[in-house]
Assembly symmetry: C2
Homo-oligomer: 327 residues x 2
């Protein structure tokens, strides 16, 4: 029910996803009338194979306090969907709703995997050579070295699950100024990661994210969130500049028409919708946070991400790697 568009996006995305993955089953959680009405728009009857409706009477507002949502909205679509993961009726929960409420509720209901102190949000970003996974993207503002180590373990497990890599490389985000090489927490995290058994690459700098230097980049949630938002801002600015330059005069406009195929191919490569879906890692269940403004293409990508994590056995991999750590 959540996100800027509610069932108008989530329901057609579910149908889209089932077309690509006919063996999947999707439980649409929320107000049945709203869901059924959208299914009718999509010309799908509610008994359609792979589609099931699970009623929930409330909705968490996008601006609602996470604490209040957690306490008062026991029958929200978000809460009920997470409960289904808890009871094993669903193997993952995907939501485009209120981020804070989703983090708080899923943490409260599902609890963390033993050995993980703090769950973290992992996003996937494009690189020159492919893509990379960065965590934490904003779930934890103040992190200890141990938390950063756990992020490394979770990130590596995620990549192992969805990319089928045995030993994904893990980089620790740091700064490279000559005088001062990072703060004490990051220095200690590097020591912990070095002796963790992970394929630890060492420190990486901001530009290494988009160079694709490592499969996983670990940082605290403050730095991660600023990095992500800064990237969004820069990409938007560059797109604006490019558009303006092609609209400057008749000649550049004509050139712009000729350039359409190349520009469109470029746009497809950097289309953030294909990277939609942040993984909320470290819980005893799979939870994916879609961008609130996601359209059908983006939300379908988030469902796909959840499915990949389930099929790749991510929860088991995280548990195993954490257990190895404590040996």
């Amino acid at each position: 029910m959540g996100g800027d568009h509610g069932p108008h996006v989530t329901v057609p995305s579910a149908i889209n996803f089932l077309r690509c993955d006919p063996e999947a089953n999707i439980i649409l959680v929320g107000i049945p009338e709203a869901i059924e009405s959208e299914l009718r728009v999509q010309k799908i009857n509610s008994g359609h194979r792979g589609i099931q409706i699970h009623p929930a009477s409330e909705i968490v507002g996008m601006d609602e306090s996470p604490a209040l949502a957690l306490r008062n909205k026991k029958d929200s679509s978000m809460r009920v969907a997470i409960n289904l993961v808890k009871t094993g009726e669903a193997q993952a929960c995907i939501s485009a709703g209120n981020t804070g409420a989703l983090l708080a509720t899923s943490r409260f209901v599902l609890k963390t995997i033993p050995g993980i102190d703090r769950p973290a949000l992992a996003v996937i970003l494009p690189t020159v050579t492919g893509h990379t996974y960065v965590l934490d993207m904003g779930a934890n503002v103040n992190c200890t070295a141990e938390h950063l180590l756990q992020f490394g373990v979770m990130g590596a497990s995620l990549v192992s699950s969805v990319e089928n890599k045995v030993a994904p490389s893990v980089g620790l985000l740091n700064i490279g100024e000559e005088e001062i090489k990072g703060n004490e927490i990051v220095k200690r995290a590097a020591d912990l990661l070095r002796s963790s058994g992970l394929n630890f690459y060492g420190n990486v700098e901001g530009d290494d994210i988009y160079k694709g230097t490592t499969d996983v980049v670990v940082c605290d949630g403050f730095v991660g969130n600023v990095t992500l938002k800064t990237s969004e801002g820069l990409a938007q600015m560059l797109a604006t500049y490019l558009r303006e330059e092609f609209k400057r005069n008749l000649l550049t406009k004509l050139a712009g028409v000729f350039a359409v195929p190349a520009i469109n191919a470029f746009k497809r490569r950097v289309d953030h919708r294909q990277y939609n879906g942040a993984s909320f890692l470290g819980l005893k269940g799979i939870v994916i946070k879609s961008h609130g403004s996601a359209d059908t293409i983006a939300f379908t990508a988030a469902i796909k991400r959840a499915s990949d994590e389930v099929r790749g056995g991510m929860l088991r991999r995280i548990s195993e790697r954490v257990a190895e750590l404590s040996q």
Copy 2:
């Protein structure tokens, strides 16, 4: 003498700058033979108006330890240039050399302005609407709320000096996740900035940097450095993608030829060379750090930045604003 290219870049840049600003005087500090040889290449005799050579027998290596450089290289071009600022013979020092050594040496020689605990590096970045100043970009990894307040004061003074704005807007870089709005230090810094008498806009997020939401963006040096490097990496990746798409086939190559004027105009707008020169703020003297790989266009921009700060009375403005704070 510093940077990747030494006098081959710094000397022609000085001459370039003098052509645009004939009233300026430039003291070229370093090994006289190397400087004179470069002046001859540029067909300038050493008695040229506005040009003066000041000998220094040593050079700080780009990879040298800042502590060792500070202790042992008392006659390095860097140290001697900073000494000239200290004695008032020069009004600013511009260097493309070893960043750590420049920070350590200028701080040791020049000392901080009363009321400033930590000097900070400010860079200028392009925005959709113009440009913005961001500090700290890596001089301080662990910052208190008071340090962030001082960065705000220094950033506002810088913008007042070089942009002639009476009350530049100051934003505090934070994250906007619903659940957790930044860490305790950032929260307290916001309180301090709010009651500082500065034109404090409030919290900004990463994307606000390139949106140009405020004239100044304040953050700690770890976050600032990661932000800057991430931006560099993303811009490079997007440039690579764009180039590849225009080279994909004969048609896109042809379109690329037509698109040259628009693409070149775009490149000029995002050309980082025009933004070269980080201001090392908070010292009793003006010090500009140029990128080590700067070419003549970039290094000339760094000299221009120093000149603007001197002419705008930046040091006096910082002192005055700090004094107002403590009232």
